[in-house]
């Protein structure tokens, strides 16, 4: 299947009964969507449950999809709504600490070596992870959505149902806090 086919076209084809179009869509957004969820959940199991709910909900509601919004907006909004439901049920916010503490060292060792990468040590990366987990929910969601989905700031704002200015402000605050964590807490916001 042609990789240049838009997500909207694939979704419309899936609406019409083309299961291969869905597989293409799934392959495109599988990893990024799962990371978006995993970095806001406390465990892989919860992330997989939410991930499955999002896709099954999309399958069930395929007839409701309209090409007036991008597919990414559609699917990430659904993912965000699942996250909010999960937060309400569990009564607590997601955390990145478990992931960072267990895997950070190994991942750093496997990362490609470059000028910036060399500069980021293990301790700095752990600080970064903790700072990301500690971000306020809105800032963290905006940052992760912006990083993982590849959407523009305007699309993120649409998905978050917020103004562009508010979304930009949340993103800037999040980046500043993460940068401060990388610098070892020496920079002021």
């Amino acid at each position: 299947m042609d990789a240049t086919v838009s997500d909207q076209s694939l979704m419309l084809r899936y609406q019409a009964g083309d299961a291969d179009a869905f597989e293409m869509l799934y392959a495109r957004h599988r990893d990024s969507l799962f990371r978006f969820l995993r970095r806001q959940c406390e465990s892989d199991a919860v992330a997989e449950e939410l991930f499955q709910d999002v896709w099954l909900g999309l399958i069930r509601g395929r007839s409701n999809y309209k090409p007036d919004a991008t597919f990414r907006t559609f699917v990430y909004r659904a993912a965000r709504n699942r996250l909010i439901d999960h937060y309400r049920k569990s009564g607590r916010r997601g955390t990145l600490s478990a992931v960072v503490e267990s895997d950070a060292t190994e991942v750093v060792d496997e990362a490609p070596v470059g000028p910036e990468e060399v500069a980021i040590g293990e301790q700095a990366l752990q600080q970064f992870s903790l700072a990301l987990a500690a971000l306020p929910e809105e800032q963290k969601t905006v940052f992760l959505m912006f990083k993982e989905s590849g959407m523009s700031l305007a699309e993120v704002a649409t998905t978050m149902e917020a103004t562009i200015e508010a979304t930009k402000s949340r993103l800037r605050y999040a980046v500043t806090k993460l940068r401060t964590a990388l610098d070892g807490g020496q920079n002021d916001e």
Binding site: F22, R30, L125
Partner: protein, 285 residues
Amino acid sequence: MTNDGTKEKMNDKRVDTAYDQLPGATPSAHIDAKILAAARDAVAGDDNHPNVGLSRYRWIGLAATVVLAIGVLLNIPGMPLAPTTQSSAETADLDTVSEDDAIVVTADARQPASLEAYDAVTPEANRVSQEVGLERRRRPLPPPDAIDRTAGFEAPEPVADTELEMLVSAPAIPAETMNGAQQMTVLELEEVSEESLEALKSSASSRESARSRAATVAENEIESIDSLVDKVVDLWQDGKEHEAVLMYRSLVKANPDVEFATYEAQFPKDLLAALAEQTKPAESP
């Protein structure tokens, strides 16, 4: 400013790099298979069952049809009659009506003169009695005590349907002047009368045909009045007084234009007395 901007940009790059170095996360193969299977099943379900709600309605309609068919086949009360059963029932009812009404009116129809008179009206009268039989069949069974009383009657004798038509319009006779058998006869007579009226009123389309049939029957009856009056006298002389009175009264009622005084002049005196006696109480209430 330039230095700050360069440093901020570099720091953003550092943020991106740090983020990219975070541990990767991917869903398990089990979740992948489950989601893709669900997607394919949903599409296949669309192909096989484009509208589940409609399918349910189809099942409901099918079930209702089956229940209706069973009800028709088993003749369950409240269900319509099966067409084949109805046609055979009409034939059966024709015989049944003749036998039942023979209980009501035991007239001697075996005399050759009477048979000749009845031949002309039998086809039309048969149709009417057929309608009466259908209506009667649809009505509930009489109570057990009524059946017991009927069982005490003598064996029915064949009677022409023309007499039934005449007796249908017979006026009520006071109960105190009758014995038990006579009261039953009147009850049956009234029942048949109601049924025949219901049958005639059953549909607007059948009214015209009923009127034409009634006109034909009336013409034939006028032609056979002489023989019927003779039959009344014969019945009276045979000791069947009640039947003779009933028959004569219904004959008079069915033919208001006929001058029966000339006939009554030939009647036996006791017959005239009986007619007069039964007329008085009937008029008093």
